[in-house]
Subunit: 705 residues, 2 copies
């Protein structure tokens, strides 16, 4: 079993090498004519400049938190193991998260133009380039994840650096406590990246749409629109870098959460602690295998190609998990709590499958509520015929309603996996959804590359058929993307719950068990405060988008007003000004919501120590539960309402209810614009928020007692 | 102390008599010319017809639930006292709630035309009629509340009908268990009335606005608009009858909640159980005194008149509570739990004041976020200049942000009142906000009467100055109304918490204490399901309004299209058809959301008994906590977003940002229309939802063990 110490980081290195080869393959493809190259260069420049500035700001944050963590973990933790190296874990986690975003963005900004070029000749070649680009992102994320975690495990458990006995099962509990810092690093960078990227992309998008499409009546991605480059940069910083950091965080959180719970087992804790890493390793291998199945023959169906990659990976993962649990888990099972029945391999396997099934069901429900082919979206389109107000009411209604089924699936997964294998089962259920992150993210990241390729085609005036091909590519994979979203939401809820239990275990160590009784007003106080945070956080994100979009709109209007010949196409718009506005706005406005998420649990946790009539750990437990409960709802509500509005607009554009240019279309565009910050800024950030707060609580737990 | 048994119901009768005298005073005022009378008669007819049909549907519900309650409470409850008479309490509660709505509506539909007539000569005479009408509603609600509760208390505790020893302190615990049925009756009728009334009024409003104002460009309340009568009927069924039932429910819930907790005390339980009724009695007296201070001399300020009524009542209430606690509570204090310190009168007094202060702060915060004079509304108005999409984003942001401070005030009230006087303190804090419901509701109900008076003035073609006077009246009292909303939200959270604790006490009786540990996945499962319910419920309410409005729009468009001479004013619109559409839609669509609220706790509570892997009482506790947490947020969010949009529109209509008819105004009208179902249908219903679910749980608790 100890061989894992070398296998896991080694596998991480191999995966990164493989990703690098795939990136080289992308770079070898043709990159189009001069006009295309100019535009692609502007996009890449804008994207990289944003990432550079974002990382400089985040570096300050990382250093500050690392110093505080190191100081707070000096000295003796009593019953809790404390060590300043947790700050090192944190820094490594933050760096790995940043690298994942950087790798993904570099290849995405190279793959976009090459996809356009490929689309000039064939749909399938374009698919190949775009998917290869996406797979670099996917494989980088999982590669960095297991390299980082595996490397730290080797350092902390394979050597005596922490002062615990190397390779001893008894040391694992201490080791994973320090390892949790990695998850904290990943989560905090992810939140800033999601919020910053989301503000950037939506400010540019709303600005480009409202002035360009609505006021001036020019098409999407028209080169006369001054915000068009910023809009395409936004797709990269939001949908590639932001999403990469997001999934890196989920992936790492699910692994660390299950390791922490596993280490608290009473017997078989070595197996329980290392099983999650082994599952992750298998997941990487099956993801790599899956990428080879995404192949289309000329004239074949791209959707089928993506599906076969996903299904092969998913199927192999089930087989892999079966074999792994069967032979990894001791025959007598693992005992997780004094006096409880041992959990055998079958329970662990079934719990992980329960998570997978719930994730797929959440995804299918998401698809139902947001698909262009289904009733909810058709209803919104019909309500658009009576104007924008009914479009909005209808979309908000659909978003709220869409919370019901996913919550039922998640709750069922919680109850079933807990019945099968206790808290550890819940953590494994989350991991079950995320083990194939490699291929899932490849499919997800392929979307924005295709989207960007379309933008480049439009801006460089390529024939309409090129744009049509890229649009086709973009439309493909919606179902797989919806299932990806389902996994993101489902695993967030389960992981938050796992981290939450880990927090309780930490706080209770050596003292009496912390009972967080709902009837205790301290808990209710925490619960209400916690439920409020996603509202406050979302309002900040929405407001940031609104203000940034307002500046963008003013600038775009100014350019149309002041640059003679812009509308006629004889003068060039000042793209860089719009890129600057988005960059500045995103950097400036990501800070406060990000800090809110990090500081709120710290404030509530330590309030009691400063004499406030609040009982730190108990109220903090309530806070986490409240944030999880209301955060999951708001995340589903906002993501699905946004998705449904988006597709209602597209449905009308296909000619329903009056088609393009009709009153209904005008109303649907307003719905879509409202949905933008919902689905791409606030909504997805909430998934990170709930886990980040839980992991903050977990990390500060030893200092609270 | 036993004298209370006669004083309280007697006071209820006296209050109702006084309300009847005030109603007679309204009826004695002049009622205008023939055209006005025709219109007023149409409004009254429509309102009464709706109420009649609504009550017929609810009667079926009441009978069904009563039978189930009686059957479920047969036999021996073990450690829990059970008695089928709880069904009788339920029926009485439902009837009192219905009567409160009926009385209020009768006088409101008489006061509206008389206010118009008075406004032809003087602002102050109009204020007098409108406020007198409002005060009938306010006094009916509190009168019926104490009469019903006091009467039942006399029956259950003053006689031996329950089989417990009359007038014995030990019997009180059993008595209040059966009394809780009254609260259940009040809450369930309130939910249906709020939802039904909300659907009615907003379907009519949206229909009238979108076709009349936006499409045809005719003013508000123009008699050519076919939906205008339905719109005015809506003000009555939503803002008068719906609100009356709502406040009746809050008032009764706060009293019953504190009585149940008081009865569980260890010493001094007689005092603790009866104190809430005594506070309510004092509250009625000071409310009646307050109404006499609402007087304006010719040329005086109506706002000052309303304020002085509120302030006199509020001040007297503080003095009254001081004296009451000082002399009612035994000098040695009351012991609420084994081994805890006794709570003395000062603690009880301070807890009640803490609630009052928190309520005022929540109200002021509400006012800040929704006032026409403040930055949030100005921001929305400014964002309207860039179109409807930014109006919506901005308003949603303001609504979400406005959750933060109120939650902090509520949490502070919870922590402080708990520290001062335990759970009983929290219940008293809620009661502290609601004790002056009589005068608060008088001020609240005065608004729709003035609104209706304006409609009648417009429809009967009275001179513009009459409408101006009624508009002035309508605008007055916004601050007091905002504070009323603050009380509604704050008390809902505190009362839900009190009922929740009462539920836990009931479930734990005689067995081991039910510990609802947040780390228990059963609780988390309940929490997530509970947090989902307000989303589902809101979506149903929004959807109902959307669908009903859609039908209304179609009908209004049809009439404009098919009735020749309608726009020219030579033909009469078919008002009755629109009234019918609203009525049918409201009755039909209130049923499912209402049943959801009643059945969800029952389903979760009993699921375990049917073999589902859910642990009934524990998961039910989680469900209630989740609904409270997410319901409070959604209620604040939706109410304030709606209020802010409404006032942003009014602000623009005053000439800011382009004034009436500008692009910004058009955008603001869309915001206001979206806000309508937010603030008048879904938002306020959620306050009832969270209490109704808690009281359902409390009532079924003895059957769960």
């Amino acid at each position: 079993m100890e061989i894992l110490l070398y296998v896991v980081p080694g596998l991480g290195v191999l995966t990164l090498l493989f990703a690098w080869m795939r990136a080289a393959k992308v770079n070898r493809s043709e990159d189009g004519d001069k006009r295309m190259q100019e535009i692609a260069a502007a996009i890449r420049e804008g994207a990289m400049a944003f990432l550079g500035r974002e990382y400089r700001v985040l570096a300050l944050f990382v250093v500050a938190v690392a110093v505080l963590l190191a100081l707070g973990n000096m000295g003796d933790g009593g019953a809790n193991f404390k060590h300043p190296l947790i700050a090192f874990s944190f820094v490594v986690g933050a760096i790995c998260s940043g690298l994942a975003g950087y790798f993904g963005m570099r290849v995405a900004t190279a793959a976009n133009i090459r996809t356009t070029q490929a689309a000039r000749t064939s749909l399938n070649r374009a698919l190949d380039v775009a998917f290869t680009g996406g797979s670099v992102m996917g494989l980088s994320v999982v590669g960095l994840g297991v390299l980082g975690l595996g490397g730290l495990l080797w350092l902390y458990w394979g050597t005596s650096i922490l002062g615990v006995e190397p390779m001893a099962g008894e040391s694992l509990s201490a080791v994973v406590t320090i390892l949790a810092g990695f998850s904290l690093g990943a989560s905090s960078i992810a939140l800033f990246a999601r919020v910053g990227g989301g503000i950037y992309t939506k400010a540019a998008d709303v600005g480009a749409d409202l002035v360009g499409k609505v006021e001036q009546g020019i098409p999407e991605d028209d080169p006369r629109n001054p915000a068009v480059v910023a809009d395409n940069v936004g797709d990269n910083v939001g949908d590639v870098a932001g999403m990469g950091a997001d999934l890196f965080e989920s992936y790492v959180g699910a692994i660390v959460g299950s390791m922490v719970i596993g280490a608290a087992a009473i017997s078989g804790f070595k197996e329980a602690t290392l099983l999650p890493l082994a599952i992750a390793a298998v997941g990487i291998v099956v993801s790599v295998i899956g990428t080879f199945f995404v192949r289309v023959k000329e004239g074949g169906n791209p959707q089928a190609a993506l599906n076969s990659g996903m299904f092969v990976s998913g199927g192999l993962m089930i087989v892999g998990t079966f074999l792994l649990t069967r032979f990894w888990v001791p025959a007598e099972g693992i005992v997780f709590a004094a006096g409880s029945e041992p959990v055998r391999w079958g329970g662990l396997f079934a719990a992980s499958i329960a998570g997978l099934v719930a994730g797929v069901l959440v995804g299918l429900t998401t698809e139902y509520y947001t698909s262009k082919e289904r009733k909810p979206v058709h209803d919104i389109a019909r309500d658009s015929e009576t104007g924008a107000a009914t479009t909005i009411i209808s979309g908000l209604g659909v978003g709220m309603q869409s919370c019901a089924l996913p919550v039922i699936w998640i709750v069922a997964a919680i109850l079933v996996s807990y019945r099968l294998a206790g808290l550890y089962g819940i953590a494994l259920a989350a991991l079950g959804m995320l083990s194939t992150t490699g291929i899932q993210l490849a499919v997800d990241a392929y979307g924005p590359i295709a989207d960007n390729a379309g933008g480049i085609a439009e801006m460089s005036g390529l024939p309409a058929e090129v744009r049509e091909r890229t649009d086709n590519l973009d439309a493909v994979g919606n179902t797989t993307a919806a299932i990806g979203k389902g996994f993101a939401i489902g695993s967030a809820a389960l992981t938050a719950l796992a981290l939450f239990s880990a927090f309780q275990t930490q706080v209770s160590k050596g003292g009496e068990m912390l009972v967080m009784d709902l009837a205790d007003p301290q808990i209710i106080a925490g619960l209400l405060l916690g439920a409020m945070l996603p509202m406050l956080f979302s309002s900040m994100a929405m407001k940031a988008v609104g203000q940034a979009a307002f500046e963008m709109i003013e600038e775009v209007r100014r350019q149309f007003r002041e640059i003679p010949g812009l509308m006629e196409g004889t003068a060039r718009a000042e793209y860089a000004k719009c890129v600057d506005i988005s960059t500045q706005a995103a950097i400036k406005r990501m800070v406060v919501p990000g800090l809110l998420a990090v500081l709120a649990p710290v404030a509530v946790g330590f309030a009691g120590k400063f004499g406030f009539i609040i009982d730190g750990p108990a109220a903090l437990g309530g806070l986490l539960a409240g944030t999880t409960a209301s955060g999951v709802m708001m995340a589903i509500f906002m993501s699905n309402a946004g998705g449904a509005w988006d597709n209602a607009k597209k449905y009308i554009e296909e000619g329903h209810g009056g088609g393009k240019g009709s009153e209904a279309h005008h109303a649907a565009v307003i719905g879509d614009t409202v949905g933008d910050p919902f689905k791409d800024t606030a909504g997805p950030s909430l998934n990170i928020l709930i886990k980040l707060m839980s992991v903050v609580a977990l990390v500060i737990a030893p200092m609270l007692v």
